[in-house]
């Protein structure tokens, strides 16, 4: 399976993601320039962290108009796996591939620290190598990670089990103190209804080797390998969604 890492002007975790995929997971990985019109046959597209277009206007707001993002949108609509990390998550929200929006962190501070997140659903393509309730220690580095969705949207995503990760304490308890950026319902990562698009604020690529202090992030990439390299077993909810549409 082949990964594609999208590069925008201002991306700064693109090579971290490339390193994790190419050198740690040992899978073919290509860099995709935002002005291109071709995903180069990638089976999974990764939108890395950074400050695409300087975060001017709003985080992710300009990046979504890139030519390549139109390809990514079509790819996702056809069921292609898309992973958005930090700024990549923000781009996916602006692009409308994931519900909700990002606000500035509740204390108006850029947060750069390790946090704990709990796996809420271990049946997704991005978490199937993990266990439900498993606590992952992964770093965050963002100013705008305060997840927000209107009450009705929040109800919908909770009901359809789209919350994949929540900020928690080291024991896996979701507490207000653990929710460092003030996200609604402690949301750290969500998937789309079909289950092929995931966005999360923490950086799994920065926690994929013991040398970096944590290997907990690797489980997300390993889940993708399981999903794409083994016979497909789609998410039960995703399957029922497809039948309805």
């Amino acid at each position: 399976m082949k990964f594609g890492v999208v590069q925008f002007p201002g991306s700064n975790c693109d090579f971290d993601a490339y390193h994790a995929l190419r050198n740690v997971l040992k899978r073919p990985t290509v860099m995709l320039w935002h002005k291109d019109h071709d995903l180069q046959g990638a089976d999974c597209v990764v939108l890395p962290g950074g400050f695409a277009y300087g975060d001017y206007l709003r985080v992710g707001a300009i990046a979504r108009f890139s030519p390549l993002m139109q390809q990514v949108k079509a790819f996702a609509r056809d069921g292609g796996r898309v992973l958005g990390i930090c700024n990549g998550f923000q781009v996916l929200l602006e692009l409308g591939l994931l519900p909700g929006a990002m606000l500035r962190n509740k204390d108006l501070k850029f947060l750069c620290q390790h946090v704990h997140i709990r796996v809420e659903d271990a049946r997704t393509d991005f978490t199937r190598a993990a266990k439900k309730g498993q606590v992952l220690r992964i770093p965050i580095a963002h100013f705008d990670g305060n997840y927000y969705a209107p009450a009705r949207t929040l109800k919908d995503i909770e009901r359809s089990g789209q919350v994949v990760f929540r900020y928690c304490d080291p024991d896996g308890k979701v507490t207000p103190e653990a929710n460092v950026n003030g996200s609604l319902a402690g949301i750290a990562g969500i998937r789309n209804e079909a289950g092929n698009v995931l966005g999360l604020m923490p950086h799994p690529e920065r926690a994929s080797e013991a040398l970096l202090g944590s290997e907990d992030g690797r489980v997300i990439f390993e889940s993708l390998l399981l999903s794409l390299e083994r016979p497909k077993r789609s998410h039960p909810k995703a399957a029922s969604t497809k039948v309805r549409s």
Binding site: A101, L103, D107, P150
Partner: protein
């Protein structure tokens, strides 16, 4: 024609920057300030657009690009021209 577009958070969305400004004003003794909402201002120069065209164009630009309708609202006015 010149238009001004004002983008700000919806009333239902907490504006932590506005709250911080409010707190600072209170610290300075401006007790009369009940609330502060912070927003963004855009001034657009439109070439050869009539008022009717601007009334279609400006809200489209505001909704599609300048504001995120999930969290923000906008107002606009014509500054110059007709």
């Amino acid at each position: 024609m010149k238009v001004r577009i004002l983008v700000s958070f919806k009333d239902s969305v907490l504006d932590p920057q506005g709250q911080t400004v409010k707190n600072a004003l209170h610290t300075l003794g401006y007790a009369a300030v009940k609330d502060v909402r912070q927003g963004k201002v855009f001034e657009l120069e439109l070439e050869g657009a009539t008022r009717t065209q601007a009334e279609a164009l400006v809200p489209e630009i505001a909704r599609r690009v300048l504001a995120n309708p999930i969290i923000e609202k906008f107002d606009w006015e014509i500054l110059k021209g007709r």
